[in-house]
């Protein structure tokens, strides 16, 4: 593929991903509302939120906060580009990890106790889900024989059939990534606060808008990975992803927030256990 084509695809992905993410979040809030027997905001509400935030006064505590917010966004954009261009999946995973670390540092670089507690919890979240994500990529490697994202359909059959247990573990990871109960510890969606918004508490106005747009990218990435579990037929993949999203929203409404110790123990026993079992199947073939 020529460089020009690659550049165009990358640009397209960078513009499309946040749009998809925003739409997904809007649908998320609507479905949430309907599950709670209320009307809910309009579908484009996340867009209105970000536009409003861009117009607010940007109050901050120090300059490095802003640096970390930009790094957080930039690296999520890069991870999206890497995946869309079919590059190495472990590198994409590491880039997403860098983005999360930048967010953690952004929370820790201010002398705000809520922010720092949120960052500590975010570190615990990373510890909970990183191994499962790497095992997911290893599982994809075992199926297709390649670490490159463009070879994801090399085996000819959808990943859900070879990696069913890893899919279940990934659903748990999705709950953490999308900040849904029972794992919305570091910062929460909407009004479900425990430590007063946690990591993002000291960001305001346009800088909070950066974080919101980054969360759109993250939502789109999660959606992409979920859809990739049926990469042979993208329509089925998208349907699968939508079903997974609805399940996440359902569990968000059913569960209460739990402690980070519970999350660590649960993810490392159930999540890792499911992933390792699935990999044992793949290795034994």
């Amino acid at each position: 593929m020529s460089t020009m084509n690659q550049l165009l695809i990358a640009l397209f992905a960078v513009v499309l991903a946040p749009a998809v993410g925003a739409l997904l979040q809007g649908i998320d809030r609507r479905i949430n509302a309907r599950m709670q027997s209320r009307v809910g905001p309009p579908l484009l509400q996340p867009v209105y939120d970000v536009l409003k935030l861009l117009g607010k006064e940007g109050v901050i505590l120090n300059r490095t906060q802003v640096l970390y917010a930009w790094i957080h966004l930039a690296f999520l954009m890069l991870a999206t580009v890497l995946l869309v261009l079919g590059q190495d999946m472990i590198m994409a995973l590491l880039v997403v990890a860098v983005s999360t670390i930048a967010l953690i540092l952004g929370g820790m670089c201010v002398r705000s106790p809520y922010s720092r507690i949120g960052s500590s919890r975010e570190i615990m979240q990373m510890l909970s889900y990183e191994p499962i994500l790497v095992l997911l990529v290893i599982g994809i490697f075992m199926t297709n024989g390649s670490f490159m994202a463009r070879d994801i359909t090399l085996a000819g059959k959808p990943l859900l059939l070879t990696l069913p247990l890893i899919f279940l573990a990934f659903l748990l990871v999705t709950a953490i990534k999308l900040k849904k109960s029972p794992f919305d510890l570091a910062t929460s969606h909407h009004g479900h606060q425990e430590i007063v918004k946690g990591i993002t508490i000291e960001y305001a106005g346009p800088y909070l808008a950066i974080l919101e747009v980054a969360h759109w990218y993250e939502t789109a990435l999660v959606f992409l990975v979920l859809a990739a579990f049926w990469a042979t037929n993208w329509v089925v993949g998208i349907a699968l992803a939508i079903i997974a999203f609805v399940i996440e929203i359902l569990f968000d409404n059913l569960c209460a927030r739990l402690t980070y110790q519970w999350m660590l123990v649960h993810m490392w026993t159930v999540g890792l256990g499911l992933s390792v079992t699935n990999l044992i199947w793949l290795y034994w073939k």
Partner: protein, 185 residues
Amino acid sequence: MLGCIDRSPWIVHYNCNSCNGCDIELLACLTPLYDLERFGVLHVGNPKHADILVVTGSVNHRNARVLKNVYDQMPGPKMVVAMGACSATGGIFADCYNVLGGIEKVVPVDVWIPGCPPKPEAIIDGMVKAVGIWKSNPAFQAQGGAARISLTRRPPAAPVQPAAAPQPQQQPQPKEGSPDGRQSS
């Protein structure tokens, strides 16, 4: 960009020394029965994310400083909504030794919602009017804003400088707008 502020007004709620009656009614507005979220209103917990400061309860020496602090931490453009009789004038506690009066002694108020406590319908009405200020009054786009709308027909009392320690024997000013729970129209 600011044109969207009326579609996504985020509120932070501060309880000065309310009996919690107004707070419960505000939270009731966020429940499915009344659902403020359909206007895009989100109850965020900290002032840095919020556009509207909803205050219940009256001002006393201790929370005057705290209320000012919370108001100052909010990024502009911002608005203050005084909910209930206590935050308008001090309510039934206006004569207490520690109560300085309504919250307008400390922060500039834009919308008053009377009631003790106000019904959720009145609260929604107040919120919609608050959002309407942003929509209709371009002068308000600047920080702070000067337009003030009251949901009662009678204008509020002029702000009085808070005394350092009000003596209990001091004769309080006759208050306008008695806290009798009557709703506005």
